[in-house]
C-alpha cells in the first residue's frame, strides 16, 4: 500500500510542478506579450519606431528606469517598497556635481578624479538606503513611511547642497585630471551606450545574486515566509537592510548616468521616478507582498514603460493622453496577471474533479 500511496502522490504532483513552472513563465510571458503588442502597434503606426538607432535610443532611456527597477525588485521581493529612489537620483547627481566643481579643503580646491566621484556618489546612495533599512528593521517603521520620509529628506538635502542651482558642464578639465565623467552617459563601447551596458551588467549581477547566491535564497525566503526564514536562521534583519542599501546604490548609479548624459546635474532630477520603477517591477510579474518576482520580468516591465512613453511621443500623442494611457497600461498589465492566476486555479480544480470522477 506504500507503493500505491507513493505512486498515487507523484503523478499529479508532477503535472502540478509543470503547471507551476508554466505559470512562472506565463508571468513573464504576460509582460513579454504586453511588450510585443506595444512594439507591433507602434511599429505599424510609425516607420521610424522600429529603426535600429531608435531602438537603441529607447533602450538607452529604458536603462535608467531599468537600473532603478532592479534595486526596487530586491526591495519588493522582500515585501517592502522604496519611495526614496527618485530623490536619491537627484542627490547623487548633485553630489557628483559638487565634487567635480572641486572641494574646498582649507583654502585650496581639490579635484577628485572621476572614479572617486563615482564611488562617493554610490556611497551616498547606499547611505540613504542604509537609513531606510535601519528605520525599517530597527525602529519597525513601515517601509512606506520610512522611505516616504527619506524621499523628502534626500530631496531637501540635494536642494540644500546645490542651493537649488544646476551644476553646469561636468565635462571636467584635463588640467585638473577629472575628465571622463561624460563617458558614463555619452560613451559607446562596442556601439552601445554605456548606460545600456551598465543595465546589462547590473541585470547579470542581479540574476547571479538571486539565482546562485545564498543571499538570493534568503531574500526569497524572507519574502515568502519571514517566520520560517527566521526560524531557519536566515539573518532577516541583515537581508532586509541590505536590499535597501542596494536599492539606494542602483538609484545613485541612475543619477550618475543622467548627470553624465546631460553633463550637468539638477537637484530636482528624478522626481516621481520611484513610481516608474515600482510599475516596472509589478508589470514584470512581481508581487508587492513579496517572495515572487524575477529580474527578466522586471526588465521587460521597464521596457514596457519606456517603449510606451517614447512610442507615444513618436506618434505625437498629446502629453495628456500619454499620462492617461500610462495609467491604463499599468492597471491592465496587472489585471491580466490576476485574471491569469484565477484562470489557472479554475482549470486545475476542474482537472482534479475530472480525475476523481475517472477514479470511482
Amino acid at each position: 500500500m506504500t507503493a500505491t500511496a507513493t505512486t498515487a502522490a507523484p503523478e499529479p504532483a508532477a503535472t502540478r510542478a509543470r503547471r507551476l513552472s508554466l505559470l512562472n513563465v506565463a508571468f513573464e510571458l504576460r509582460a513579454f506579450i504586453a511588450l510585443a503588442v506595444l512594439i507591433v502597434i507602434f511599429g505599424l503606426l510609425s516607420d521610424s519606431f522600429l529603426t535600429v538607432p531608435n531602438l537603441i535610443t529607447m533602450t538607452k532611456h529604458v536603462a535608467i528606469n531599468g537600473v532603478i527597477a532592479l534595486g526596487m525588485l530586491l526591495v519588493i521581493l522582500k515585501g517592502g517598497i522604496d519611495l526614496s529612489v527618485g530623490s536619491i537620483v537627484g542627490l547623487s547627481g548633485v553630489v557628483a556635481g559638487e565634487l567635480l566643481q572641486g572641494l574646498h579643503v582649507g583654502g585650496v580646491i581639490a579635484y577628485p578624479p572621476v572614479w572617486v566621484v563615482i564611488v562617493l556618489c554610490v556611497a551616498v546612495g547606499m547611505a540613504v538606503g542604509l537609513i531606510n533599512g535601519v528605520l525599517v528593521t530597527r525602529f519597525n517603521v513601515a517601509p512606506f513611511i520610512a522611505t516616504l520620509g527619506m524621499l523628502y529628506v534626500a530631496r531637501g538635502a540635494a536642494m540644500l547642497i546645490s542651493n537649488g542651482a544646476t551644476y553646469p558642464n561636468l565635462g571636467g578639465n584635463p588640467a585638473l585630471g577629472n575628465t571622463g565623467f561624460e563617458l558614463l552617459g555619452s560613451g559607446r563601447p562596442l556601439g552601445l551606450p554605456t548606460s545600456i551596458w551598465i543595465m546589462i551588467l547590473l541585470a547579470v549581477a542581479a540574476v547571479l545574486l538571486l539565482a546562485k547566491s545564498p543571499f538570493g535564497r534568503w531574500l526569497y525566503a524572507t519574502g515568502g515566509n519571514e517566520r520560517a526564514a527566521d526560524l531557519s536562521g536566515v539573518p532577516i534583519r541583515r537581508v532586509k537592510t541590505i536590499v535597501y542599501v542596494i536599492s539606494g546604490a542602483c538609484a545613485a548609479v541612475a543619477g550618475l548616468i543622467i548627470a553624465s548624459e546631460l553633463t550637468s546635474a539638477a537637484p530636482q532630477a528624478g522626481e516621481t521616478y520611484e513610481l516608474n520603477a515600482i510599475a516596472a517591477v509589478v508589470i514584470g510579474g512581481a508581487a508587492l507582498s513579496g517572495g515572487r518576482g524575477t529580474v527578466r520580468g522586471t526588465l521587460v516591465g521597464a521596457f514596457v514603460i519606456g517603449f510606451l512613453a517614447d512610442g507615444l511621443v513618436i506618434l505625437g500623442v498629446s502629453t495628456f493622453w500619454q499620462i492617461l494611457i500610462k495609467g491604463a497600461v499599468i492597471i491592465l498589465a496587472v489585471m491580466l496577471d490576476q485574471g491569469q492566476q484565477r484562470f489557472k486555479r479554475r482549470g486545475a480544480a476542474a482537472a482534479a474533479v475530472a480525475a476523481s470522477k475517472k477514479h470511482d
Binding site: S186, I258, A269, D310, T319
Partner: protein, 306 residues
C-alpha cells in the same frame, strides 16, 4: 474599430513626412497657458510652411528633455524648436542634436552656451522684469512694504526675473521687502503662502510675482483678506487671465512675453536654415517684453498684440 483609425493617421503622417519633413517642437508642460500658446503658434507656422510637426513637453525634467531630443534625432527631424529645461542642463542635449546634424532653435529661455544652437530667440526677461518693476515702484509711489513671490528656485527664469526686479527696486530705499518666498510658479501654493505672509503682517502695499499664475494666487489671497484695494499686484508672462485681472482692476500690471512672436520667428528661421543653410540672423536675439497695464490691456490677445 480603434485599430484602423490610427492606421489612417499614420499613413497621413508618413505622407506629410514626404513633403517638408519633421519639425520637433519641445516645450515645458502645456498646463501652463504660456507654453501652450508658444507651442501652438510654432505648430501652426510650421504646418503653414508645409512641415510635419511633433509637439511634446519635457515638464522641466532635463532627462526627459534629453530623451525627447534623442527621439527627434532618431526620427531625423529637420529642426528642433526648443523651450529648454534649464540653462545648464540643456547644453548637452542641444549639442547632441547639433552633432546629430539637427539645427536647434531655442525660444523663450536661453542656455549658458553659444555656438551650439542655431538661434536663441529669447524674450528679454531681465528687460521685462525691470519694466514691470518700474511700473510697480511707480504704482507704489516709491515706498512701502512689498512681498516677492519667486518661481521654482531650480528654474533660470526665476532668478533672472528676481534679479531684474531687484535691479530696479533696490534703487528706492523706501521700498521694504517684508517677505521673499518661492511658490514654485503654482497658484494654490502662492495663495497659501500669501495668506500666511499676510498673517505675519497686514502692512503690505505691494506684491511682485515671478509669473502671473502666482500673482493671481496672491490676488485671491488678498481679496479674501480684504486687502486687494490697497495692494499693488504685478506679475509676469501676460497670460490672458492676468490681462483679464488687470482689466478688472485686480492686478496693476504684467510683463507680456510675445510668446507667439518668438515661436513663429523661430520656425521661420528654421525654414530659412533648412532651405539655405543659414538663418540670416545672429544667434542671440532678444524680443523685448511689453508692459501691460489698464491703459493698454485691450490691445493684447493671447501672448501677443492683437
Amino acid at each position: 474599430g480603434s485599430a484602423e483609425q490610427p492606421a489612417t493617421s499614420a499613413s497621413a503622417s508618413s505622407g506629410a513626412a514626404a513633403a517638408g519633413g519633421l519639425i520637433a517642437i519641445i516645450t515645458p508642460s502645456h498646463d501652463n497657458p504660456f507654453f501652450k500658446a508658444e507651442a501652438e503658434a510654432a505648430k501652426a507656422q510650421a504646418e503653414k510652411l508645409g512641415y510635419q510637426t511633433s509637439v511634446a513637453s519635457h515638464d522641466d525634467d532635463p532627462n526627459k528633455q534629453s530623451e525627447l531630443i534623442d527621439a527627434a534625432i532618431s526620427r531625423q527631424a529637420k529642426a528642433i524648436i526648443l523651450d529648454n529645461a534649464g540653462a545648464d542642463a540643456s547644453i548637452g542635449p542641444v549639442r547632441k542634436a547639433a552633432q546629430g546634424g539637427i539645427p536647434v532653435f531655442l525660444i523663450d529661455r536661453e542656455i549658458n552656451a553659444t555656438g551650439v544652437a542655431k538661434a536663441q530667440i529669447v524674450s528679454n526677461n531681465s528687460q521685462g522684469a525691470q519694466l514691470v518693476a518700474q511700473s510697480f515702484v511707480e504704482a507704489m509711489k516709491s515706498k512701502g512694504n512689498y512681498v516677492e513671490l519667486v518661481g521654482k528656485e531650480s528654474d533660470t527664469n526665476a532668478s533672472v526675473r528676481s534679479k531684474g526686479f531687484a535691479d530696479v527696486i533696490s534703487q528706492y530705499p523706501d521700498m521694504k521687502p517684508v517677505a521673499k518666498e518661492s511658490a514654485n510658479w503654482d497658484q494654490q501654493e502662492a495663495f497659501t503662502k500669501m495668506e500666511t505672509i499676510i498673517q505675519k503682517s497686514r502692512d503690505i502695499q505691494g506684491v511682485i510675482a515671478g509669473n502671473d499664475t502666482m500673482a493671481l494666487g496672491a490676488v485671491a489671497a488678498l481679496k479674501a483678506a480684504g486687502l486687494l484695494k490697497k495692494v499693488v499686484v504685478v506679475g509676469f508672462d501676460g497670460s490672458p487671465d492676468a490681462i483679464a485681472a488687470i482689466k478688472a482692476g485686480e492686478m496693476h500690471a504684467t510683463g507680456l512675453q510675445p510668446a507667439a512672436l518668438g515661436a513663429t520667428s523661430a520656425v521661420d528661421q528654421a525654414d530659412q536654415f533648412i532651405k539655405t543653410g543659414k538663418t540670416g540672423k545672429d544667434e542671440k536675439q532678444s524680443i523685448d517684453c511689453e508692459l501691460v497695464t489698464a491703459d493698454n490691456a485691450d490691445e493684447f490677445g493671447v501672448f501677443a498684440r492683437k
